[in-house]
Symmetry: C2
Subunit: 242 residues, 2 copies
Amino acid sequence: MLTSEKGYISLYMQIKELLVTKIRNGEWSPGNLIPSEINLAQEFGVSQGTVRKAITELVENNVLNRKQGLGTFVSNHDPHRALFHFFHITDNKGHKVLPNSKVLSCRRKQASRKEVSKLQLPAATPVIRIERVRNFSARPTMIETITLPAEPFGNLVDADDRELPNTLYELYEKQYGITIHSADEQLRAKAASGHDAKILNLKVGTPLLEIERVAMTLDRTPVELRISRCSTENHYYQNTIL
Amino acid sequence: MLTSEKGYISLYMQIKELLVTKIRNGEWSPGNLIPSEINLAQEFGVSQGTVRKAITELVENNVLNRKQGLGTFVSNHDPHRALFHFFHITDNKGHKVLPNSKVLSCRRKQASRKEVSKLQLPAATPVIRIERVRNFSARPTMIETITLPAEPFGNLVDADDRELPNTLYELYEKQYGITIHSADEQLRAKAASGHDAKILNLKVGTPLLEIERVAMTLDRTPVELRISRCSTENHYYQNTIL
DNA sequence: AAGTGGTCTAGACCACGTA
DNA sequence: ACGTGGTCTAGACCACTTG
């Protein structure tokens, strides 16, 4: 990182990078307390205000969180955060409920052209492709196709039998040390295919909301491609523009 | 505003409110330069840093914008901002192009139950309802139904003949002094009705992306309800989760 | 009581845009 | 050259949490 168009890099930006590096290296783990602003200022040889500004921006990025009187912590992307930050489907009353999910298949494949492009992979990279159906109050509502590069997610194929956890992003963080910070989504209306219709118990051609999401790390390296097809009979996609 | 759960209100928060008040009163108008941080600090009897913190948060809210070496300005929500902040439809290459729009009808009506609820109006309030079709490269792609309270937007019915500007939000700001700062959107997949199909030149039942948006002022007073039905044959709705 | 983040101050120097 | 915002410092006091 540390790129700049100005010929110089402000101190607090450099501190910010140093902090991020410590998190990436695992020196500071999600959920753990980091040193106090005063201590960090001494360690880096800058004033507390400079460390403070760096930390403030990382808090705004959801990388750190502060608790007055306690200290500053590395954010752990627990199910709650995943739910409220990355999950935009709510029922028609506007309530978010995390659905159950059942894996239909989980296989190692060659990356398709789309996967190669969306995940910025070399051609013909092996990937893991997971298909699952998500139920809201026992009603199948969403079909998800999730693609991950086989490196490093290869051993996920063992998840063929048992159910995967509802919050995959938590798994990525705990098992692989990869934290999802942002995502790009493309939404379209699509007619249900025969396959969709059968699984979701709908008529072929029923309009479905298709969400194509690329999930990325803090430095915007793509990690996961997820295509969801969702019945919007009893649910909708909620977005707030601030 | 000025509510707090802590029994006190920090100085910079109070300054922030004072600044917002000046904007709301029209003392400072969109696009205009506000006094320098130093001058404001003297006027309010606080340090520059405190004014700075207040301004920083307003910049983050898109209420003000700073230009180094020049000063701080009240944001005017020009077409560019409206386009990039509130308009999420892009073509399949990811390019944003603002569509043309043609008004189909513009009438004064009684607010429907949905309009009453979404716009938080008293029952049976008169509203203006505008229907228009939006074209991307001469192809009808989107139908919008826009509802506004007749008070203060009543004279918009005169817009029946001539075309309304593409960027209504700019109109609200310039004509009525109402600035849209945020919006809540609900997205669903819906089958094209006969009316939709005729106007968009599609088959009845074609899946359309329906976007139901409530646009709000800075203090989250609802101003406009807009229901868009969009063909996602050549376009999609783009959302970035940060 | 001790330590943390939260706020606030006063002053310094730098980079940018205008004149 | 001047005034603006952008960054940085050093120090102060307050509010919150834990021991």
